[in-house]
Amino acid sequence: MIVTGEQVNRDLEEKCQVLVIGSGAGGGAIAAELAEAGVDVLILEEGPYYTSKDFSTNPAKMIPMLYRDAGTSVIMGSPSIIFSEGRCVGGSTVINGGMCWRTPEKVLKRWQLEFGLNEITPKSMEPFYEKVEKIISVEPQHPNSLSKAEMLFHQANRKLDYLIRRNHRNQKNCTGEGLCVFGCPTDRKRSVLVTYIPKALAAGARLYADCKAERLLIKNGKAVGATASVLNRETAKRKHKMTIHAELVVVACGAIQTPAFLLGSKVGNSFKQVGKNFLCHPNTKVVGMFDEEVRYWAGVHQGHQVHEFLDEGILFALGGVPPALVSLSFPLFGRKSLELMEQWNHMIVGGMLIDDTTYGRVVRLPWGAPLAFYQIDDVEFERMLRGTALLSELFFVAGAKKVLLPFFQLQELNSIDEIKKIYEYKIKKSELELLTVHAFGTTRMASTPSRGVVNQWGEVHDCSRLFVVDGGIIPTSLGVNPQETIMALAARSGQYILENKQKFLA
């Protein structure tokens, strides 16, 4: 059953066994896991419920519809980082690029050593990865779905003997529309919206969309439910109240929203860890300009990823983004912007993801909204420069005549010999153009409460019957796209709850 805000015309009071707050990668996965085992699950989602019938190719329509704050969320710092997050049923899985990677082994090893998460091993996680990959259909792309740009990029990587991998994506017979970031209009991208949510609903779960959780209800140190506001979808203002009584609560609002929610509920923060340890995989873009038409947009987003430099904390891929987002990468406007974008079919946009080496923080503002802070450090800055140099080299080897850079002082390179200018110019950190779609760490897992907010199962240390299963529980940077890790951890937490039903569910 799905109830949307417009269907609600009075205050509501509901009861369930498990309340899941958030319907994204973590919330969707755990809701389905529990509902299919016969648990009475109620899912609260702040954002609206849309299906692929509502999706269009117009970013001016889709961004305000699907993205939190119409895509204007910013992580404060110098430079600031634009943060894109989904705010709809299915969460960020509706607007992400669909990449699915298992957690790198070296990352799991680090979790064991630094955070005492000894039971989270590649072997113990294997069944959960397999389950997730089956449900969301993780497959590499068909040759017909790839653009000419992917071919040129692949050839350049082979020439330089770089490790380039076929991207694993949650997709079913993807044809290469390149519209992942605006909601797949054909459901070929298998987001939580079209996989876990229907599974949960078919098993009897109830979903309330346009309902924003306001505060947890705590009694004798146990989570017993939450209060929420039923929102008017158009104005996002509250129209009715909702109270949900539950035997167990799972919070899955994302690494930025969850800390604000916990802090507002005055829960989970006995050791002052909530909101700390924020990590975000800063990204930036480089554009190769070619004489021939390459039409990089006519094909799937990120058909491959370059893993040659993962050990250095750098990952590359081609990014399928629309002209508006490409135009923002450059400090141009007016005539100069148009003259650049008239070469749209001669461009290839490459992105790099940097492994974090510092931590930021998420705080809760007086009116309840979160605010994230992150200041890239010198190591990350060096990685940005190195990543830019390497990606520029790849583009020149692929046949680019010019490469456009994300630096104000150095905007273009005209030959492979000019790459060294990246190191010769005094490029300032503050003038980088950065963005990200990943967020972790703010309610991280750790065996000892002084080092984290939740234990290895996502259970909050200082509040019983309260779990967190979103990106916030991931204690370190992953270096790869996180949705599969989040879903696998959520499925694992779900299984733990089921194995301990006596303890958690009356």
Binding site: T72, N144, K148, H168, R295, A324, L328, R335, L338, G479
Partner: protein, 183 residues
């Protein structure tokens, strides 16, 4: 008329949009009202604190021209198009992050609207609808029948036949390379 801002702020937005909007002699589509509609929708979707801060920021931008464009003694709205361009460039290149971020945020809204307009998409050769119509000829249960690029499809199909496209399993990072095994 914009619904989510006052008439005064609307005038500033209009002037800013006219300055930022990509155009050149020979191509200047009359889509300013459309861009303002897009801006209105975005502003309506902003969080509450931004709905207060953004208009304040815009008013500051308007008035600060009296200082930064001295001795012109004009607000931003009153400047000539050439002077508006110089002024906006000053904000984009400013060493003060808040100045850069305000212009960046507004530029994002204008560019999103501009490059999503069918006339502009056609002008830059972004024939997306044609691409979608061409490739989506089968149902979801059938593998893609029409290649996005004939050349790319041939290239990757060849690699796949030779088992040389690359590994499709295993963990990211440290894994078997498809050219040489790591011992």
């Amino acid at each position: 008329m914009m619904k989510n801002v006052s008439p005064g702020v609307e005038r500033i937005i209009r002037a800013l949009s006219e300055t930022i909007k990509p155009r050149k002699p020979g191509f200047d589509p009359a889509i300013d009202d459309y861009i303002l509609e897009v801006a209105d929708a975005f502003i309506g979707a902003l969080p509450s604190h931004m709905k207060i801060l953004m208009p304040l920021g815009l008013r500051l931008l308007n008035l600060a021209a009296l200082v930064f464009m001295f001795p012109k003694f004009r607000t931003f709205v009153g400047l000539s198009p050439e002077d508006r361009e110089k002024y906006v460039l000053g904000w984009m290149e400013s060493s003060i992050a808040l100045r850069r971020d305000l212009i960046k945020g507004f530029k994002a809204i204008v560019m999103t609207g501009y490059y999503a307009h069918p006339e502009v998409m056609a002008h830059i050769g972004y024939n997306l609808e044609e691409h979608l119509k061409r490739i989506n000829v089968q149902d979801i249960e059938t593998p893609p029948q029409v290649p996005c690029s004939e050349e790319a499809a041939r290239y990757f199909s060849e690699l796949e036949k030779k088992n040389a496209w690359g590994t499709t399993d295993g963990l990211p990072g440290s894994c078997k390379r498809y050219f040489k095994d790591r011992k």
